[in-house]
C-alpha cells in the first residue's frame, strides 16, 4: 500500500518497501566515492549542511541489468530549477569520446528521501535516457547509523520511476531498487590501497593481510549463520524455512572443488608456479657462483702478480689449492 499521507502538502513520492523494482543494479565503488567527494566540496564551498548536489550517472544497461560505473557533475540554470542541458550534452559527449562503452543512465543527488522536486527534475532527464535511474546519498542516515555500529549498509538508495494509479489519477512515483556492489580487479586494488592510506610495506605482508581480512569476514558471516541455526534449534528464534533451505544448499555444495578437471587445472597451475620459483633460485645460484668465480680469479691473479715469474710451480700449487677449496664445497 502506498503511504497514505493525506494532507495535501506532501504526498510521499516513494512507494512503500513491499514493492521493489525489477532492475538488478550493480554499483561500482568509483561512483560512490565521486558522489561523496562532490558533496564534501559543495559543503565546504557553500558552508551549509545539505547543499544541493546534482550529477549524472554513466554506465551500461542491458535489459534489466544495469551497471553504474562513473559519474560527472551537473550544473543548474540560474533559476535553480532547470538543468543546464547544453552542459550535460557537452560533458556526456566528452565522456563518450574517452569511454565509448558508457552511456548516460541516470542522475544522482544528496537528500534524505526523494521529494516532488526530484520528480520534476527526473522528468527533465527522460529526454536522454528511456528509464533514468535516481541514486540518492543519504547523509543523515550515515551520521547516525555509524553510532550504534550495526548499520552495515551503504547510505545509498537507488530508485526507478514508475506510474502509480490511485483514485483514477496517475502520478509518477519512485520505487526503490536494490543494488549490489561490483568491482573489477584493478578497481578493487585501487580502492583497497587507498583505504589503507596508500602506504607500502613488503608485498608479501600486505598481500597476506588482505587475504586474512577477507577470510576473517567470511568467518564472521559464518558465525552469524551458526548463531542463527543454534538459536533455531533451541527454539529461541523463529524458523524461517527459506533461510534454512539456503544454508543447507550451501553446505551441500561443499567441497567446492571435487571436480576432476578442476583438480588437474589447479595442480598444473601450482606446478607452474613452483617451477617459476625453482628457476628463480637456479638463476640466483648461477649468479652467486659467478661472483665466487670472479672473486677467486681476482685472488689468484693478484697473487701471481706479486710473486712474479718464479711462481710457475707455485702458480700450479695455488691453483690446486684453490680448486681443492672449491672441492670442499661438495
Amino acid at each position: 500500500m502506498s503511504a497514505m499521507d493525506t494532507d495535501h502538502e506532501e504526498l510521499s513520492v516513494v512507494l512503500s518497501s513491499t514493492t521493489t523494482s525489477g532492475l538488478s543494479i550493480a554499483l561500482h565503488p568509483l561512483p560512490i566515492l565521486n558522489i561523496s567527494e562532490h558533496f564534501i566540496r559543495l559543503k565546504l564551498e557553500k558552508q551549509t549542511h545539505l547543499p544541493f548536489t546534482l550529477g549524472a550517472l554513466l554506465g551500461t544497461q542491458n535489459g534489466r541489468e544495469v551497471e553504474i560505473v562513473n559519474t560527472f557533475e551537473l550544473a543548474l540554470e540560474d533559476d535553480g530549477e532547470a538543468i543546464d542541458h547544453s552542459f550535460l550534452v557537452n560533458r556526456r559527449d566528452q565522456y563518450k569520446q574517452v569511454f565509448p562503452s558508457l552511456e548516460f543512465i541516470g542522475w544522482y543527488t544528496v537528500a534524505p528521501i526523494p521529494t516532488s522536486r526530484h520528480i520534476e527534475l527526473h522528468s527533465q532527464f527522460t529526454g536522454y535516457c528511456s528509464t533514468p535511474l535516481l541514486l540518492i546519498l543519504q547523509p543523515t542516515a550515515n551520521l547516525i547509523g555509524s553510532v550504534d555500529g550495526t548499520s552495515q549498509n551503504l547510505p545509498f538508495k537507488a530508485y526507478e520511476q514508475t506510474i502509480e494509479i490511485k483514485d483514477r489519477t496517475s502520478r509518477s512515483v519512485f520505487v526503490e531498487a536494490s543494488y549490489t556492489v561490483e568491482t573489477g580487479e584493478a578497481e578493487r586494488i585501487a580502492v583497497d590501497w587507498t583505504a589503507k592510506g596508500g602506504g607500502s610495506g613488503t608485498s608479501l605482508e600486505s598481500h597476506l593481510q588482505t587475504q586474512r581480512a577477507a577470510v576473517k569476514m567470511l568467518h564472521d558471516r559464518i558465525l552469524v549463520l551458526i548463531q542463527y541455526v543454534t538459536s533455531v534449534i533451541a527454539a529461541e528464534a523463529p524458523t524461517d524455512h527459506g533461510i534454512l533451505r539456503a544454508i543447507s544448499a550451501l553446505l551441500a555444495s561443499l567441497p567446492a572443488s571435487e571436480n576432476k578437471t578442476f583438480r588437474e587445472e589447479f595442480n598444473t597451475e601450482s606446478e607452474d608456479v613452483q617451477l617459476t620459483a625453482l628457476l628463480a633460485s637456479l638463476t640466483k645460484s648461477t649468479s652467486i657462483l659467478n661472483d665466487l668465480v670472479d672473486k677467486h680469479s681476482l685472488l689468484t691473479t693478484s697473487r701471481e702478480d706479486r710473486f712474479g715469474a718464479g711462481g710457475g710451480a707455485a702458480r700450479r700449487t695455488r691453483l690446486q689449492m684453490g680448486s681443492a677449496r672449491i672441492g670442499d664445497w661438495h
Binding site: E73, R91, V191, T194, S203, V273
Partner: protein, 348 residues
C-alpha cells in the same frame, strides 16, 4: 548516549560537520592567486617534495589506464599548490591513444582539454590544471625521453605542473597501485647529488630510453588522502566487496602479463650469457665512495627480476591454496592437506 545527542544536536542546528582532514578540498582563490604570483618553484628546481593525490583522482586514473591496456593513455590533473606539495584533487581523461613510443596531445586533445576545463568551472570544479598523467602498461613508472621533453616544456610554460605515471599491469600483479610523480630539472641544470633510485625491473626494449634520461628528473613522494566521509564509505564498502577479494585470482587475471615478463627475462638472460664471462669482482670500497651506487652486473639484475616474478606468482598461489583449504574440506573428515601449504611457504 552522549554521542547520539551530540550528533542530533549538530544536525538540527545545521552545524557544518567537517573534520580537519577535509580542509584540503576547499578551494581558496585568494591563496591560489597569491602563491601563483610568488611562484617559489621557479627559483628552486627542487621546490616540490611531495605529491598528494585524492582517492577519487587515483581511482579514476587507474580505471582509465586499465581500460586502455595495451595502449598508453593520458589525461589531465586538476588541483592546487600547498606548501611544497602539489595536491591533485581530480583527474580527467583525454581522448588520445598512444602508440608504443609516443603519447602526445595533438590539436584535438588540446581542444577537448580546454572545453572540459571550462565546463568544470561552471560545474563547481574551479581548480587549475596542475599536471598530466599517462600510463606505461607493463613497463614501470618512469619518464621516457619524449615524456621528459614534454614535461620540460610544460614546466617552462605552465608551471606548476607535475607528471604522473601509472602502470596498470604492475598494479594487478603486485596487488597495490604502481604510481609515480615526477618533476624534471630545467635544461642545463645538473643536480648536485645523484640520489640512487630504487631498482625497477624494466623490459629490455625500454631500458636504454630509461637510462639515458634518468638524471633529468626526480621523483616526488606520493601520498593518498581522502575525506572523512570517504573513509566511512570505504569501511562500509569493504563489507560488500570482501567477497570479490576472495574470489578473484591474480594468477588467472594476469596470465598474459606474467608470460610476457618471463619472455622478457629470458631475453635478458641470453644477453647476459655473452657478457658474464667478462665480469670482474670488485674489491671492497673505502667509506668515502659509498655514495656511488655499486654498479651491479647484468646477471645480478636478472636475479632480482626473476625473484620478483617468482614472488608474485607465489602470492597468487597462496591465495588459491587458502581458498582450496577453506572450500574443499569435507565436513567431519578432519583430514587437511597441510603438507601442501608447508611446501608453498618455503619460498627462497
Amino acid at each position: 548516549m552522549a554521542n547520539t545527542a551530540l550528533k542530533t544536536f549538530s544536525i538540527e542546528n545545521d552545524i557544518v560537520e567537517l573534520s580537519p582532514q577535509d580542509d584540503i578540498y576547499k578551494f581558496d582563490p585568494e591563496a591560489d592567486r597569491k602563491i601563483n604570483r610568488e611562484s617559489p618553484w621557479s627559483k628552486d628546481p627542487h621546490y616540490f617534495k611531495s605529491c598528494k593525490i585524492s582517492a577519487v583522482a587515483l581511482i579514476k586514473m587507474v580505471m582509465h589506464a586499465r581500460s586502455g591496456v595495451p595502449y598508453e593513455i593520458m589525461g589531465m590533473l586538476q588541483g592546487k599548490v600547498v606548501g611544497t606539495s602539489l595536491v591533485i584533487l581530480d583527474s580527467f581523461a583525454l581522448p588520445v591513444q598512444g602508440t608504443e613510443t609516443r603519447v602526445n596531445a595533438g590539436a584535438e586533445a588540446t581542444e577537448y582539454m580546454v572545453a572540459y576545463y571550462q565546463g568544470s568551472q561552471s560545474a563547481g570544479r574551479p581548480e587549475n590544471l596542475v599536471g598530466w598523467y599517462h600510463s606505461h602498461p607493463g613497463y614501470g613508472c618512469w619518464l621516457s625521453g619524449i615524456d621528459v621533453s614534454t614535461q620540460m616544456n610544460n614546466q617552462k610554460h605552465t608551471d606548476p605542473f607535475v607528471a604522473v605515471v601509472v602502470d596498470p599491469n604492475r598494479t594487478m600483479t603486485a596487488g597495490k597501485v604502481d604510481i609515480g610523480a615526477f618533476r624534471t630539472y630545467p635544461e642545463n641544470y645538473t643536480p648536485a647529488n645523484v640520489a640512487s633510485s630504487e631498482y625497477q625491473s624494466i623490459p629490455l626494449s625500454k631500458i636504454e630510453d630509461f637510462g639515458v634520461h634518468a638524471n633529468q628528473y626526480y621523483p616526488l613522494e606520493v601520498e593518498i588522502f581522502k575525506s572523512s566521509l570517504e573513509t566511512q564509505l570505504l569501511d562500509l564498502l569493504w563489507n560488500k566487496y570482501w567477497v570479490n577479494t576472495l574470489s578473484q585470482s591474480p594468477l588467472v587475471s594476469n596470465r598474459a602479463y606474467a608470460v610476457s615478463q618471463l619472455a622478457d627475462l629470458n631475453q635478458k638472460l641470453s644477453k647476459v650469457q655473452s657478457s658474464v664471462a667478462g665480469t670482474k669482482a670488485s674489491l671492497p670500497q673505502k667509506e668515502s665512495s659509498k655514495e656511488e651506487k655499486k654498479k651491479e652486473n647484468e646477471l645480478a639484475k636478472s636475479v632480482k627480476d626473476s625473484n620478483k616474478i617468482a614472488a608474485e606468482a607465489q602470492h597468487g598461489l597462496i591465495a588459491q591454496i587458502i581458498k582450496d583449504v577453506i572450500f574443499s574440506i569435507r565436513p567431519g573428515s578432519g583430514k587437511t592437506d597441510t603438507s601442501q601449504i608447508g611446501e608453498s611457504m618455503n619460498i627462497g
